[in-house]
C-alpha cells in the first residue's frame, strides 16, 4: 500500500516536474538558438518571467467571444498536463502511465488542439479562422504520421503502453532496428510540425500571412495567454521526452530508489538539452516554408514512418 | 381412315382441292387489285365449302354438310360481299397495292410451302400420306395468309389475309379431323362473322380519322425515336 502511495506521489512529482521544467526547456532552446545566431539571447529563466508577468496582467476579452474562448485555456492546459502525466520522464512503471497509452496521448493533443482552434474561431476575426484552418490541416496530416511511428514502436514492443514499451526496449539491449531509425526520423519531423516549430510554423513571428499557432491565440491576453503559452511549452517538452525516452531510453529509472531517480532525472535533462540544441541548429539552418509545402514535409514524415513499419514487418519479423 | 380406303377418287379430289386452295393463296399474293383480291378470297371460300362437302360425303359425318353450307354462305358469299361492299363504299375499286417486292414475296411464299412440309414431316409419321399433306397445306395457307398481311399496305388486304388464315385452319380442321365439335364450330363461325362486321366498322373509323386505308400511315403510336 505504501508502495502504491509512493508511486502515485512519484507520478505527481514527475508531472509537476514536467510542468515546471517546460519553460526552462523553452528558455534553453531560445538561448542556444540565439547563440547560434550570434546573439546574446535572454536568460534561461526568461520564460518563467514572461509567464509570471502574463499571469499578473489584466485579462482582456474580445467583444463577441463566448464561454468557449474563456474555457479553452483551461481545457487545453488540463489536457496537456494530463498528457504530461502519462509520459515517463524520469521513471517507468508509474501508475499514471497506465491511465492512458500512447494513442490516448495523441487524443489529448487532439483535444487540446480542438479547443485551441475553436477558441481561434470564437472571436470572429479572419486571423482566428485562418489559424484554426491551418492548424487543423497540418495536424490532420501530422497525426497519421505520428500514429504510424507509434504503431511501429507498438508493434515491435507489442504494446502501446509507453512505460511498458520503454521497458521492453531497455530490456532487449542495444539492438539497431532499421524500423526505429525510420520511425525516429519520422517522429522528429512530426514533432517539429506538431509543436509549431520551423520549418512548419514559426513561434516567433507575428506576420499575419504565415503564422499558424500565433494566429489563434492572437486575441488572448493575461492569464489566458499565459496558460496557452505554458501549455505549448509543456507540449514541446512532452514530444522531446517521448523521443528521448523511446529511442534513447538508457538512464531512465526502472525502480523507485533515490539513486535511480536521480540518475533518471539527470539523464533526461541531458537528453532533452541535447535534443533542444539539435532543434536549435536545425531551426537556424532552415527557413520556414510555405504552408502548402507542409503537406510534402509531412508526407515525407509519413513515408519514413511507413518505411519503418514495413521494415519492421519485413526485416525484423520475417514474412 | 378406314372409311376412306375404298374411295380413292374422293381422296384424290380432296388432294386436288387442297392444291387449289394453296394455289388460291398464291393467287392472292399475286393479286394487286383489291377487288380482285376479294374475288380470289371468295373462291377460296367456295373451294373450302366444296372440300367440306366432299369430306362429309366421304367420311359420313353428316354434321359436316351443315358445316359445308355454313362455310359456303359465310366465306364464299357473305364475307366477300361485305368486303366488296366496303371496297366500293370506300371508293377503292381501282386501288392497287404497290408492286414492289412482288417477286420476292412470291418466292418467300414458295419457301413457306416447303417449310410447312418440313414442319409437318415428323408430325404425322404414323398417319397416312394424305393427312400429312393436308396438314402441310393448311399450315402453308396459314403462313401465306400472314405473309399476305405483312406484305400489303391496305387495311382491306390485311383483312383478306386474316380471313385466309382462318380458311387455312378451317381446312385443317375439316380434312384432318372432320371438323370440330358442333358447338365449337358454331362459335367459331359466329366469331368470324362478327369479326368481319367489326372490320367494316373499323375501316370506316380509320377512314374517318386518317382519310386513307393505308396501314403504314397508322404509326403514331411507337416507341422508336421520331
Amino acid at each position: 500500500m505504501a508502495d502504491h502511495l509512493t508511486s502515485w506521489v512519484l507520478a505527481l512529482v514527475q508531472t509537476a516536474l514536467f510542468v515546471a521544467g517546460a519553460p526552462l526547456l523553452a528558455g534553453w532552446l531560445k538561448r542556444v538558438k540565439c547563440r547560434l545566431q550570434n546573439r546574446r539571447g535572454p536568460r534561461l529563466t526568461q520564460p518563467y518571467r514572461d509567464l509570471l508577468r502574463l499571469f499578473r496582467k489584466e485579462l482582456l476579452l474580445p467583444e463577441g467571444s463566448s464561454w468557449v474562448f474563456r474555457a479553452a485555456p483551461y481545457v487545453i492546459f488540463g489536457a496537456i498536463v494530463l498528457a504530461a502525466a502519462v509520459v515517463p520522464l524520469i521513471a517507468l512503471r508509474l501508475p499514471t502511465s497506465a491511465i492512458a497509452d500512447v494513442i490516448v496521448l495523441v487524443g489529448f493533443f487532439a483535444l487540446a488542439r480542438f479547443f485551441l482552434a475553436l477558441a481561434g474561431m470564437d472571436v470572429g476575426t479572419a486571423f482566428g479562422g485562418m489559424g484554426a484552418s491551418r492548424e487543423m490541416t497540418v495536424a490532420s496530416l501530422a497525426e497519421p504520421a505520428l500514429l504510424m511511428a507509434v504503431f511501429t514502436l507498438a508493434m515491435s514492443a507489442g504494446t502501446t503502453d509507453l512505460s511498458v514499451a520503454i521497458q521492453r526496449i531497455l530490456s532487449s539491449g542495444l539492438v539497431i532496428r532499421p524500423s526505429f531509425v525510420f520511425a525516429l526520423l519520422g517522429l522528429l519531423l512530426v514533432a517539429v510540425a506538431e509543436t509549431g516549430r520551423i520549418p512548419v510554423d514559426n513561434p516567433a513571428t507575428h506576420l499575419e500571412l504565415t503564422m499558424i499557432h500565433e494566429a489563434m491565440v492572437l486575441e488572448y491576453s493575461g492569464r489566458h495567454l499565459a496558460l496557452m503559452e505554458w501549455a505549448a511549452q509543456i507540449k514541446f517538452m512532452i514530444y522531446a521526452a517521448l523521443i528521448a525516452n523511446i529511442f534513447l531510453p538508457w538512464g531512465i529509472a526502472v525502480g523507485f530508489g533515490f539513486g535511480a531517480l536521480a540518475l533518471g532525472a539527470a539523464a533526461v535533462a541531458v537528453k532533452l538539452a541535447l535534443l533542444a540544441a539539435l532543434l536549435a541548429v536545425s531551426e537556424t539552418l532552415l527557413a520556414k516554408m510555405r504552408l502548402f509545402a507542409a503537406p510534402q514535409f509531412l508526407g515525407f514524415a509519413y513515408l519514413l514512418c511507413l518505411l519503418g513499419m514495413l521494415s519492421h514487418v519485413i526485416l525484423e519479423v520475417g514474412g | 381412315m378406314n372409311a376412306l380406303q375404298g374411295l380413292d377418287l374422293t381422296r384424290q379430289l380432296i388432294l386436288l382441292l387442297a392444291a387449289l386452295v394453296l394455289f388460291s393463296s398464291f393467287a392472292m399474293l399475286a393479286q394487286s387489285r383489291l377487288v380482285g383480291l376479294v374475288r380470289v378470297f371468295a373462291w377460296q371460300g367456295v373451294l373450302l365449302a366444296v372440300t367440306t362437302g366432299l369430306v362429309a360425303y366421304a367420311s359420313g359425318h353428316t354434321h359436316l354438310y351443315a358445316s359445308a353450307v355454313l362455310t359456303f354462305f359465310l366465306k364464299g358469299l357473305l364475307i366477300p360481299w361485305i368486303l366488296h361492299r366496303m371496297v366500293l363504299r370506300l371508293g377503292l375499286e381501282s386501288a392497287r397495292e404497290s408492286d414492289a417486292y412482288r417477286t420476292p414475296v412470291q418466292l418467300a411464299g414458295a419457301g413457306l410451302v416447303v417449310f410447312s412440309y418440313y414442319v409437318a414431316l415428323p408430325v404425322v409419321q404414323l398417319s397416312a400420306l394424305f393427312t400429312r399433306n393436308t396438314i402441310a397445306v393448311s399450315l402453308a395457307v396459314v403462313l401465306l395468309g400472314m405473309l399476305l398481311m405483312i406484305s400489303r399496305h391496305k387495311a382491306v388486304s390485311q383483312v383478306v389475309g386474316f380471313m385466309s388464315i382462318e380458311n387455312g385452319l378451317f381446312f385443317a380442321a375439316v380434312v384432318a379431323t372432320y371438323g370440330m365439335p358442333m358447338v365449337v364450330e358454331l362459335g367459331v363461325a359466329f366469331d368470324v362473322l362478327v369479326a368481319a362486321i367489326l372490320f367494316g366498322v373499323v375501316f370506316l373509323q380509320i377512314r374517318a380519322s386518317i382519310d386513307t386505308l393505308d396501314v403504314d400511315r397508322l404509326n403514331r403510336l411507337s416507341e422508336s425515336e421520331p
Binding site: P62, S66, D122, D161, L227, V313 | S224
Partner: protein
C-alpha cells in the same frame, strides 16, 4: 419476456403511426399520443433489448403471418437485443424532441399525417428487422423500413432536390434489397429453407459462401453507405425532417450493419479472412472519403450525412478486423474487433443522433441549413450549442467522450496484426489504421469548422441573428443523448462487459481481459499491452484544468474582465463578413487532397478597373466523384439500352405482324 416486450415496442411504434392518421382532425391530442407511444416503444425496445443482451438470452417465437408454410419467425438474442437498444435510445430521444420540432410543420401546407404515420412504421420496421429470424419476414421488415423512410425523405416534396433525393434513395434501397434477397437466396438454396435456423445449417462451399457474402456486402453496404455505394446517402438523409434524419443516420445505418453482422457472423458461419480484408479496405475507403467529402460540405445536415459514411467505414473496419482474426484462428482478437465495431455502432447512433437533433434545432430556429449563413449561435442558443459541442467532440474521437473509446478499441484491434501469419496483412492493417488516424484528424478539423462557423464568431444572416433557444423538450432530447455520450465515454469497461454476450453468441467467447483490472481500467488485450482509464482521464482533466481555473480566478480582482474590440488589421469595426467561412476553412485541405473531388471553380472579376476590380465573384462546386464514375454510367447504359429496345416498336402494324410471323416460324423450326 424480453421478446414480448420487444414485440410490444414494435406494436407501440406501429400504433403510434396509425394514431398519426388522426392528426388532421385532432392535431394536438394526436401529436401527444403519437410521440408518447413512440417514446414508450423506444423504452420498450431498450428494456427488452437490454434484458436480452445483459442476460444473454435467446427467445424465439413464430407468428401466423407471412407465407402459409413459412410463418414469421421472430427471435431476440443478444445481438438483436443490442441493436434494439440502439434503436430504442434514439427513438426515446426523438420522441422527446419531436413534439417541439414538428411544430414547424403543423401550420405548414402539408398534412402531418404522413409524417407521423411513416415515422411510426419506420421505427417499427427497424425494430422488426432486428427481430426477424427468417429471410421473408426480414425482407418484409427491411423494405418496410426503406419504404417508410422514403416517404419521410419525400415528405417535403415541394423542393425538386428532395424529390430527386427520394427517388435516388428508393432506387438504391430497391437495388440493395434485391442484392440482400439474392444473398439470402443462395443460403436458402443450400440450407433448404428460409428460416435463419435452416440457413445456419446450410453447408456451403467457400465459393458459394463468398458469392453470398459479396451480395450481402453489396446490399447491406448500400444501405449502410459504404463507398462507393454511398452517393444516395448524403442526398437523402438531410432532406428528411431532422428528427427523422437523426433516426435514419443514427439508427437505420446501424440496422444495415446489423444485417451484415447477422449475415456474415451468424448465418454464413465462420467468416473468411479475405472477406474481412475486403470489408476492412472498403471500410477504410469509406472512412477516409466520407470525411473528405464531409469537409467540403457547407450544408450542415449534408455534412453530417457524409460523416455517417465515415463512421460506417470505421465500424466496418472493426468488423473487417474481426473477420480477419476470426478467419485466421484468433478468436480472442476477433472479439476485440467485433466489440470495437459494436461499441462504435452504439456511439455513432448517440452522437450522430445528437448532432442531427442539434442541426434540426438550428434549422427550426434560424431556417438556415447553410453553414455560410450561420455564426454566433452559441450566444443565442447556448444549451443547444453546448450539446452540439459535446456531439462534435464525441464524433471527433476526442477523450474522454465515447467516440474516442471505440476508435481506440479499433486501433487496439488493428495493432494486434503481428499475431497474423501473412506478412501482407501485417503490413496492410497498420496502414489502414493510419488511414483511420487521418480520418479522425480530418473529422476533428471538420467539426472545428462546423462548430466554429455555425456557433462561434458572428451571425452571418438576419435569421440567425434573431434565432432563439428551442423549447424544453427539444433540449431534453439532445441532453439525453449528450449525457449518454459522456456516460459511454467514461464507463467503457461496463459497456464492453455488456457487449460480451454478443461475442459469446457469434464467436463463442468473450473478452474477459478487458475488465480484468476492475471497472476503472479498460485493458482490452492485457494490462501490459494497453490500458485506458477513462474515469481517471476525466477526473484528471477536471482536476488540472479546474485547479488552474480556481487558482487563477479565486481573487476578486482577477474576476473582473474588460471587453475590447478585437484586432482586425485596422479595418475599422469587425464585420461578420470578415470571418473565415466554411469554404475558406477547408481551402488548404481542398488543395492538398485535390484529386479526391471533382472541383469546378471559377473566379470572375467584374467591373474592369485594371488592377482593382470592382466586383469579384467566386463559384465553387465540389462534387462527389462516385457520380461520374459509378452512377452516371449505369444511368446512361439503361438509357441506351432502352433506346435500342425502343426501336423494335416501330409503330407499323406490318412490322408487328412480321414479328409474330417470325416468332412462329422460328419456334416451329426449333421444335422440329
Amino acid at each position: 419476456m424480453s421478446l414480448s416486450l420487444a414485440l410490444w415496442a414494435v406494436l407501440g411504434a406501429l400504433a403510434s403511426g396509425l394514431l398519426g392518421l388522426a392528426a388532421d382532425r385532432f392535431p394536438a391530442p394526436a401529436k401527444a399520443a403519437v410521440f408518447a407511444l413512440l417514446g414508450l416503444s423506444g423504452l420498450g425496445a431498450v428494456l427488452g433489448g437490454g434484458d436480452a443482451l445483459l442476460r444473454g438470452l435467446t427467445t424465439a417465437q413464430t407468428f401466423p403471418l407471412g407465407l402459409p408454410w413459412l410463418h414469421w419467425h421472430l427471435c431476440l438474442d443478444p445481438l438483436s437485443g443490442f441493436f434494439l437498444i440502439v434503436i430504442g435510445i434514439a427513438t426515446v430521444a426523438v420522441s422527446v424532441y419531436g413534439p417541439g420540432y414538428v411544430r414547424e410543420y403543423e401550420h405548414g401546407r402539408q398534412s402531418t399525417v404522413p409524417l407521423y404515420l411513416f415515422t411510426g412504421i419506420f421505427v417499427s420496421g427497424m425494430q422488426l428487422v432486428v427481430l426477424a429470424a427468417d429471410a421473408f419476414s426480414f425482407m418484409v421488415a427491411w423494405e418496410l423500413m426503406s419504404l417508410s423512410s422514403y416517404f419521410l425523405v419525400a415528405y417535403q416534396h415541394q423542393h425538386a432536390a428532395n424529390r430527386r433525393a427520394a427517388f435516388l434513395y428508393l432506387l438504391m434501397a430497391e437495388v440493395g434489397g434485391l442484392a440482400i434477397l439474392l444473398a439470402f437466396g443462395v443460403l436458402a438454396a443450400f440450407g433448404g429453407g428460409f428460416s435463419f435456423a435452416a440457413m445456419r445449417a446450410a453447408a456451403l462451399g467457400p465459393g458459394w459462401a463468398s458469392v453470398a457474402f459479396v451480395f450481402a456486402l453489396f446490399g447491406f453496404g448500400m444501405k449502410a453507405g459504404l463507398v462507393p455505394l454511398h452517393a444516395w446517402l448524403p442526398e437523402a438523409h438531410p432532406v428528411a425532417p431532422s428528427h427523422v434524419s437523426a433516426l435514419m443516420s443514427g439508427v437505420m445505418l446501424k440496422v444495415a450493419l446489423y444485417g451484415l453482422i447477422r449475415f456474415t457472423f451468424d448465418l454464413l458461419g465462420g467468416p473468411h479472412w479475405d472477406w474481412g480484408l475486403v470489408l476492412l479496405l472498403a471500410g477504410s475507403a469509406s472512412a477516409l472519403l466520407g470525411v473528405l467529402y464531409a469537409l467540403m460540405q457547407h450544408d450542415l445536415k449534408r455534412l453530417l450525412a457524409y460523416h455517417s459514411v465515415e463512421n460506417v467505414g470505421i465500424i466496418c473496419m472493426g468488423l473487417g478486423l474481426a473477420m480477419i482474426f476470426a478467419g485466421t484462428g484468433h478468436p480472442r482478437l476477433a472479439v476485440l474487433g467485433l466489440i470495437a465495431a459494436l461499441y462504435h455502432t452504439l456511439n455513432h447512433s448517440l452522437f450522430k443522433g445528437l448532432l442531427f437533433l442539434g442541426a434540426g434545432a438550428v434549422l427550426q430556429r434560424s431556417h438556415e441549413g447553410d453553414l455560410e449563413r450561420m455564426g454566433g449561435l452559441i450566444g443565442r442558443m447556448p444549451v443547444t450549442a453546448l450539446f452540439f459541442l459535446i456531439g462534435c467532440i464525441s464524433i471527433s474521437a476526442l477523450p474522454p467522450f465515447n467516440g474516442f473509446v471505440s476508435e481506440w478499441l479499433t486501433f487496439q484491434a488493428a495493432l494486434q496484426a503481428p499475431a497474423l501469419h501473412s506478412g501482407v496483412l501485417r503490413a496492410l492493417i497498420p496502414v489502414t489504421a493510419a488511414a483511420l488516424a487521418l480520418t479522425g484528424a480530418l473529422a476533428a478539423a471538420c467539426f472545428v469548422k462546423v462548430f466554429g462557423v455555425a456557433f462561434l464568431g458572428r451571425a452571418r444572416s438576419r435569421h440567425v441573428r434573431h434565432a432563439r433557444e428551442v423549447d424544453l423538450g427539444m433540449r431534453a432530447g439532445q441532453g439525453l443523448l449528450a449525457a449518454l455520450c459522456l456516460v459511454f465515454g467514461v464507463l467503457p469497461t461496463y459497456t464492453v462487459q455488456a457487449l460480451e454476450p454478443i461475442a459469446h453468441q457469434l464467436l463463442g467467447r468473450g473478452l474477459p481481459s478487458a475488465s480484468a483490472q476492475g471497472w476503472l481500467w479498460l485493458t482490452p488485450v492485457s494490462p501490459q499491452t494497453a490500458s485506458y482509464a477513462a474515469p481517471l482521464v476525466l477526473a484528471g482533466m477536471v482536476l488540472f484544468g479546474g485547479v488552474m481555473f480556481a487558482l487563477l480566478n479565486a481573487r476578486r480582482r482577477t474576476r473582473r474582465v474588460r471587453r475590447t474590440i478585437p484586432w482586425a488589421c485596422g479595418f475599422g469595426p469587425l464585420d461578420a463578413r470578415m470571418q473565415y467561412t466554411s469554404t475558406a476553412f477547408t481551402h488548404p485541405i481542398r488543395r492538398i487532397f485535390r484529386p479526391v473531388w471533382e472541383i469546378h471553380e471559377e473566379v470572375e472579376t467584374g467591373g474592369d478597373r485594371g488592377l482593382r476590380p470592382a466586383a469579384l465573384r467566386h463559384r465553387l462546386h465540389v462534387e462527389d466523384r462516385s457520380w461520374r464514375v459509378l452512377y452516371e454510367p449505369v444511368g446512361r447504359w439503361v438509357a441506351v439500352a432502352a433506346r435500342q429496345v425502343g426501336r423494335i416498336q416501330t409503330g407499323s402494324v406490318r412490322t408487328y405482324l412480321a414479328y409474330s410471323f417470325l416468332t412462329l416460324v422460328v419456334l416451329l423450326w426449333l421444335i422440329t
